[in-house]
């Protein structure tokens, strides 16, 4: 809607806030309604899994690469899955070039925790030889266009990438790691489908999936990751405070919305097609 390349004006802030109090949003959505998701998977030829996800106009293209290395000493038979995010200057004049800043670190960490605490990736299956060789998976998210709510878009992008995975399966030999001819697919290694829901808060109004103007104007946000029936990860950001009742309500809402989203998106359709 408005040109958000610079300082948000007072009248825009008032416009968004006044309308939210009447449960009206500038793009016509309801308070608990997502923008449209558009998903494409496994398009990157050089990657072992990828997903191009657009939420509204926010677009994140994620790719999966692997390495083989030694495991952490306290988890000698488990592989590692690490998530990184880059907010590209292409995506918005609000993003500066340079090393990852707080916003990109927050995006990576919130998505990572949503995946990790849901036991989404079965890291025991990523072990080639205990104590010697495990897979290290790199899930790298690149923000191509910014229109608010990077976290929910990133969550779906990272998850779909893992589902689309086709990692060459290795066996440990004295000559090093050799290819068995098979692949570790998302079907094998992905166990759970976590979804993260981000809410914005302006004054007393809470709403799902902030668009960019709403995000720039809001007092704070809350991101809640859920599996089918459990809350697995939460992040509150910004200076807003939430009452206990509000938090309980959001927890409950997230499970409900998570179920709807899981069914609607049907992410398993994006698993790798290996002949």
């Amino acid at each position: 809607m408005m040109d958000v390349k610079r300082v948000i004006s007072t009248i825009e802030r008032k416009y968004i806030t006044n309308n939210l109090k009447k449960e009206e949003r500038i793009d016509g959505r309801g308070l608990w309604e997502y923008r449209d998701f558009k998903i494409d998977a496994d398009m990157i030829a050089s990657a072992e899994g990828s997903a191009d996800v657009t939420l509204g106009e926010t677009r994140i293209i994620t790719g999966l690469k692997y390495d083989v290395g030694t495991p952490f000493p306290d988890l000698p038979d488990a592989g590692v899955c690490t998530v990184m995010a880059e907010l590209l200057p292409l995506a918005s004049p609000l993003f500066e070039r340079g090393p990852p800043d707080n916003q990109s670190i927050e995006l990576a960490r919130v998505v990572d925790r949503g995946i990790r605490h849901a036991d989404c990736v079965q890291t025991k299956l990523l072990c080639i030889k205990e104590k010697e060789a495990v897979y290290i998976l790199f899930v790298d998210m690149y923000v191509i266009n910014y229109d608010g709510n990077l976290i929910d878009c990133g969550g779906v992008s990272a998850l779909t990438t893992l589902i689309s995975a086709h990692i060459p399966e290795g066996k440990y030999t004295e000559n090093g790691i050799e290819w068995t001819g098979n692949y570790l697919t998302g079907e094998k290694i992905v166990n759970e489908l976590p979804f993260v829901m981000t809410y914005g808060k302006i004054d007393d109004v809470i709403f799902l999936d902030p668009s960019l103007p709403e995000e720039l104007v809001c007092d704070g946000k809350m991101s809640i990751s859920v599996t089918e029936d459990k809350i697995t990860s939460i992040q509150k950001s910004g200076a807003a405070t939430f009452s206990l009742d509000e938090i309980r309500m959001l927890g409950q809402k997230s499970i409900e919305i998570g179920k709807e989203l899981r069914n609607k998106l049907n992410l398993w359709q994006y698993k790798a097609k290996i002949d």
Binding site: K5, M43, I44, A45, S46, A47, S50, E57, I61, G63, L64, K65, Y66, D67, V68, G69, M84, E86, L88, P89, L90, A91, S92, P93, R97, P99, F138, D140, Y142, I144, N145, Y146, D147, P168, E169, G170, G176, I177, E178, W179
Partner: protein, 259 residues
Amino acid sequence: MVLIIKDEYPEKLFREDGKRLDGRDKTELRPLKMEVGVLKNADGSAYIEWGNNKIFVAVFGPREVHPHHLAKPDRGILRVFYRMATYSVFDRKRPAPGRREKEISMIIADCIEPVLFLELYPSTSFEVFIEVIDADGGTRCASTTIASLALADAGIPMKSLVTSLAVGKIDGEIVVDLSGIEDKAGDADLPLAITWFNDEISLLQFDGAMDTEEFDKCLTLGKEAAEKIHQIQLDTLRSKYISIQESVKESSSESGGEQ
């Protein structure tokens, strides 16, 4: 990185039937698709799929120079940032920009500058952000080609577009538009770019070994191929607007014409 499937190069780069490994003739281009205006937050933008290459470009400018000390009082500055995503290559690339990316950024900037009117924009900055999300040989050429479309999309005055591609030698034969494998396993690689307002070369690099006859053939075939690609660039620019004109005509003829 430890690779389980090794990045090995085939012995022969031509098939039994005389075609290249991907089925092409010697002067045939890989499938090429371009689009402008794909990134709404940029002043100008474009996207290209060329073979397996997939590249986004965003242009910002003319705008104020940040940091200010880089501004030139008598002309504008053009900065190009060519970057590759970690997953765009077979062997994962480290996230931070490396020397190769910085060198390519410079070469692309030098290549594009001749078509711009930087002297009309004192103390001004033009920035071109290139992100390669999938690489398969000739990314600097594809990037240059699509960057010139993004600049046109931004409404920045240009003397003409710039078109770039790589020609080279594989298994002793001169070919046009090297793929990733041909680039790595071939005998010679010659990326070049042409500025159409003066029909001259504005980007030229060479790695390999060739005699002068082969070199000459490269330049000739390169120019011919560049002409084909230039046509695709111009059609892409036009099609964004022409498709709207057509759909508007269709919908008004459906509703019985205008009053």
